[in-house]
């Protein structure tokens, strides 16, 4: 592989890696949001169970 070929490959690699990193960051964020929605649903369910008549003591 010549020096020029290495530089050209590096330029393309940088573009693809940076886009990939960006997609991974967005995917991680969406996974976090998914967890937060799950937690929120659990909290709502727990609150409703507490409010149901006869559920207390």
């Amino acid at each position: 592989m010549t020096s020029t070929e290495k530089y050209v490959a590096a330029a393309y690699l940088v573009v693809f890696v940076m886009i990939l990193v960006y997609v991974v960051i967005i995917a991680a964020k969406l996974a976090r949001l998914d967890r937060e929605i799950g937690d929120l649903a659990d909290e709502v369910r727990a609150t409703r169970q507490d409010e149901e008549p006869g559920s207390a003591g």
Binding site: T2, T4, E5, Y7, V8, A10, A11, Y12, V14, V15, M18, I19, Y22, V23, I26, K29, L30, L33, E36, I37, L40, E43, V44, T47
Partner: protein, 229 residues
Amino acid sequence: MKKLLAPLDNAVGLAVLATVLIAVGTAMTFFYAPVDVDGLNQKIFYFHVPIALTAYATFGWGAWKALVHLWKKKPGADLESYVAIHQGTIFGALTLITGSIWAKLRWGHWWLWGEKELVLFLIIFLFYCTYFMLRYSIEAGPRRANISAVYALFGVILIPISFLAIRLATNYIHPVAFTKQGPQMAGSQFATFLVCLAAMWTLAGALYRLELLGKRLDLKIRELRELVL
């Protein structure tokens, strides 16, 4: 026509289209477009220039959304402006990196401070980098949205100056691919360039919609948490 353009209206459709166009653009770059007198390093041009144009376009889109926010007070325009500028800085960083690699091959230097085109692009990039520092130094609310929008609008003035800098320059070290006479390249090279440009614009569109989706979801979850708990 509306049905034909429907994929452009969602992130998944745009992502699929961007993947196809990137694959076709890369194949055309290496197997269709001829190697010109500049040698193999000219292959960087097919992605470097579309990435730079995408950076300008996303900064411009961010400024437009900032104007919509200030002018029409449209809900969500501030967030759209923020996401567009974020995209612009990513594509801006890629422009600087790929440009530096090309410069090292062509000029033997990673960077030349005497080049107006390079320095002006760096100024735009740094200007929009400070947008995030400004934005996050102000508490969330209408004041932050308004100040951010004004700042985004100021930045857009630099874009035409940067775009024309190459023609205003006296030394012309940076190559001029497009003149008043049209593109200074073979038909196959120009076709490859257009496919790569379409690839970058659809990629930017897909990433913009994806990031916007995440930000809107985040906001809705916060609202929901405040309402429920």
